[in-house]
């Protein structure tokens, strides 16, 4: 049995080149103002960036902007220095962006489809030649990811809804990884899974970063952001309200996350 609770990252070498950059990303709110208010940030290769904040700070909306979910959003984004001009999800996936949504049931999985079908849903092009889907190659690839992510399944042909929350989350992660992303966006990756699976998800994140993947993850759990991140960004009221290196005091991070109503009223 693994000891839960101890997620502190071992010291790691400094991160590599910039893999993703967002400049002045905005998302207008229906009632005026901005849900995402001129957010700029960068993520480097092999770096885990934690995006901490309270509910409604605009973090999920920001990730959705990166994944082309909001046609009304503005700003510029770059992958490996080249501007991200694709307007649809498929195009952004092709550019190396992968999103692991917060709500597994609603956004992450097609519950009635098989585990295999969910794993490969974003990467069917890998097994396709002239419209023909090579089912054998697909099954082999799915089996490989089941093994790699240690997803506990009786058969990859069972519906994904029969899995536990933690194993479902691993399927979502597997689906994202199969697209060979350069940057992984994770929205509350530990929500709704048991403590053992949580530790496994965190270990997976660190392994992926060690392999050179840039990870930007959103969390509302202070311990989590402090333990996992190489760099901590804090959002409040749609804005980046603080940027801290790993090892920052919890109190400092919390202070930055607290929306400053005084300033807003003055503005």
């Amino acid at each position: 049995m693994r000891k839960p609770g101890n997620f502190r990252a071992p010291p790691r070498p400094p991160s590599g080149d910039e893999v993703f950059r967002a400049e002045d990303v905005t998302l207008p709110r229906a009632g005026g103002g901005f849900a995402v208010d001129h957010v700029s940030l960068t993520v480097r290769k092999g770096e885990i960036v934690g995006l901490y904040g309270l509910m409604g700070a605009g973090r999920t909306e920001f990730l959705e902007c990166i994944m082309a979910q909001h046609p009304a959003s503005g700003g510029r984004m770059f992958v490996d220095g080249a501007p991200l001009v694709e307007r649809d999800v498929a195009g952004r996936i092709a550019r190396g962006i992968a999103l692991i949504p917060e709500d597994r049931k609603r956004d992450g999985l097609v519950q009635i489809m098989a585990i295999r079908e969910n794993l490969t849903l974003s990467s069917l092009g890998l097994f396709t030649r002239l419209m023909h889907l090579n089912l054998r190659a697909e099954a082999a690839r799915a089996a490989e990811f089941v093994k790699r992510l240690t997803i506990k399944v009786a058969s990859p042909e069972n519906p994904v809804s029969s899995l536990s929350g933690g194993n479902q989350q691993k399927v979502v992660i597997g689906k994202a990884l199969m697209t060979s992303p350069k940057i992984l966006l994770m929205d509350e990756p530990s929500r709704g899974i048991d403590i053992g699976a949580k530790a496994e998800v965190f270990r997976t994140m660190r392994d992926l970063a060690a392999d050179g993947l840039g990870i930007l993850f959103v969390t509302s759990d202070l311990d989590e952001v402090l333990a996992l991140s190489d760099r901590i960004l804090v959002m409040a009221n749609g804005r980046i309200s603080g940027a801290f290196p790993a090892g920052t005091e919890a109190a400092t991070v919390i202070a930055a996350a607290t929306p400053s109503f005084k300033k807003d009223h003055a503005a």
Partner: protein, 345 residues
């Protein structure tokens, strides 16, 4: 634990449409003499073919979580278009009329069917109209257009002429190839094509994903709009084909052609195990469903049962099919859960 009894039950439930087919076949071969003759088999197949063609397209639409009520009207409109082209050609309005040969007429008519299907798809995807309402609208529009095209009259004598290259027009609906009716061949080709799309192409997988969880599919990079446009256009294609076959078979086109066809197509799909809530269904299941309905009505006719009773029986069979389908999904989920629970321990 999963008992072997449960596994057996699940197998029977999975194959229920097939079991139903064998049951009705067995019943009528005993009760109605001559039912199991080759001649009768061909007749029944011809009756089934039209509904099966529509039901195949309908299956795709229902798997995406949609519905199309306009197919019957598209059939009628396409029959009228084909009839018009055979009889009148296209008057360019300067005293000059363009005539088309059979192949061109088939192409234009299919394009009209696909076009109406695309309009359905655009209404649903671009203008966000609920499928039920959008296709209810096109049901009336297409039927109205069919009636307007001839002022409500029938286009008679579509036997075609050699000089226009339309003499082969009746062949589509009444000709035979290798001693099988042409329309049966058309059904075979469309069925195999649709089955291939559903099982062996990314498009097919995307159709199931959209029906299973549209938002989740979109976030996985599935182009939901294109998928929906395809399924409605494909159903429009099937409807166009059926319209051509009917006009050719009767050598006449009547604007009321195809009324209530949409309901028979939905019935066949549902009987074949297609889930109205989307995400589940098989092409071959649908075809078997169409055969069960067809054999049921033809068999009852041969036994001399009143057609009013036939309608009642058809309804009972459809409701039964859905009830069994529900039971199957519940059992299947339970068995899968038990299996996975056993491994994670």
């Amino acid at each position: 634990m999963i008992s072997s009894q449960q596994n057996w039950l699940l197998l029977v439930l999975r194959l229920r449409t097939f079991v139903a087919l064998i049951l009705v076949l067995a019943y009528f071969s005993v009760m109605a003499p001559n039912f199991l003759s080759t001649a009768n088999a061909v007749i029944v197949s011809k009756h089934v073919a039209l509904n099966a063609l529509l039901a195949i397209g309908m299956t795709f639409v229902i798997i995406t979580g949609g519905i199309d009520l306009s197919v019957g009207s598209i059939v009628g409109l396409c029959a009228m278009v084909a009839g018009w082209l055979v009889l009148n050609g296209v008057d360019l309005g300067v005293g000059y009329t363009v005539w088309f040969n059979t192949v061109e007429i088939v192409g234009i008519t299919l394009a009209v069917g696909i076009g109406v299907g695309l309009i359905n798809g655009l209404l649903i995807t671009r203008l966000n109209v609920a499928p039920f309402i959008a296709t209810l609208g096109t049901l009336y529009i297409a039927r109205g257009a069919a009636l307007l095209s001839s002022d409500g009259r029938t286009f008679p004598n579509l036997s075609g002429t050699d000089e226009m290259g339309t003499a082969s027009f009746p062949f589509i609906g009444s000709g035979t190839l290798l001693s099988l009716p042409v329309m049966i061949w058309l059904l075979v080709v469309v069925a195999l094509g649709a089955h291939y799309i559903s099982r062996r192409t990314p498009l097919g997988r995307h159709i199931y994903a959209v029906g299973g969880n549209e938002r989740g599919a979109a976030l996985s990079g599935v182009k939901v709009t294109s998928v929906k446009l395809f399924v409605y256009a494909f159903l429009g294609f099937c409807a166009g084909l059926v319209g051509i076959i009917i006009a050719s078979q009767l050598q006449a086109a009547h604007p009321a052609t195809g009324e209530t066809f949409e309901l028979n197509a939905i019935a066949a799909a549902v009987l074949g195990g297609t889930s109205m809530s989307g995400g589940r269904g098989r092409i071959f299941g649908t075809i078997i469903g169409a055969f069960v309905i067809g054999i049921l009505s033809d068999g009852l006719i041969m036994m001399g049962v009143s057609s009013f009773w036939q309608t009642v029986i058809k309804g009972v069979v459809i409701v039964l099919a859905v009830v069994i389908d529900q039971a199957q999904s519940r059992l299947q989920a339970r068995v899968a859960l038990a299996q996975e629970a056993a491994t994670s321990r």
